[in-house]
């Protein structure tokens, strides 16, 4: 009698391991540091430029609205979360810190909106960097 193949729950196929290629490491890092650059180095020109324009404009408008650029060492939990969000913008954040852009205290509704623009620009840049990684590993075209 021929042997029949049996399957057990343990025998289910597992997801293939993603090879860590240089581009899969560099693309998200560059994408984080310079918004949209993760796509540009992979020749996704239009996507990269649109992401760069959107994120940089959002950050710049936030700064122009006197939004607060968070610092790392305030000790307040909400400030720390704001700092993490801001940090997502990469070089744009560091430039804002070096040039001392943005308001120090939120005194008007407009400045509060600006603060949200700056934080969300950082968070969107993280999404863009993750997307650049997905393109690099071939998960996305």
């Amino acid at each position: 009698m021929a042997k029949t193949e049996t399957t057990t729950p343990d025998a289910q196929p597992t997801a293939a391991a993603v090879p860590l290629t240089p581009i899969a490491t560099i693309a998200p890092l560059i994408g984080w540091l310079i918004p949209g650059a993760g796509h540009l180095i992979q020749k996704r020109w239009i996507r990269g430029l649109l992401l760069m324009a959107s994120i940089v404009c959002m950050f710049a408008i936030g700064v122009a609205m006197q939004g607060k650029v968070y610092k790392s060492n305030t000790g307040d939990l909400l400030d720390i979360l704001g700092f993490v969000g801001d940090l997502g913008s990469g070089a744009v954040y560091f430039l804002a810190r070096i040039m001392d852009w943005g308001g120090t205290a939120i005194t008007a509704a407009n400045a509060d909106y600006g603060t949200k623009f700056i934080v969300v620009a950082g968070l969107l840049n993280v999404m863009a960097a993750v997307d650049a990684y997905h393109i690099a590993i071939g998960k996305k075209q």
Partner: protein
């Protein structure tokens, strides 16, 4: 800081919607057509939500 931009709530929200819609469209879909459609959908929902929220606030106020 030299530049001090003063935007109305609506202008600020519309710009916000525009930028996040572009990023969402690009990052959350795979093909160009889907990206454009999803970006437009996000933008329309954000602007629609803005009008709905505005009218709700007006009704609560009056």
């Amino acid at each position: 800081m030299i530049l001090a931009l003063q935007l109305s709530h609506f202008s600020a929200a519309a710009l916000f919607a525009l930028f996040f819609s572009i990023v969402f469209g690009i990052t959350q879909r795979n093909t160009t057509e889907e990206m454009v459609k999803y970006g437009a959908y996000c933008f329309a929902m954000a602007i629609g939500g803005l009008f709905v929220a505005g009218w709700v606030m007006w009704l609560l106020h009056h």
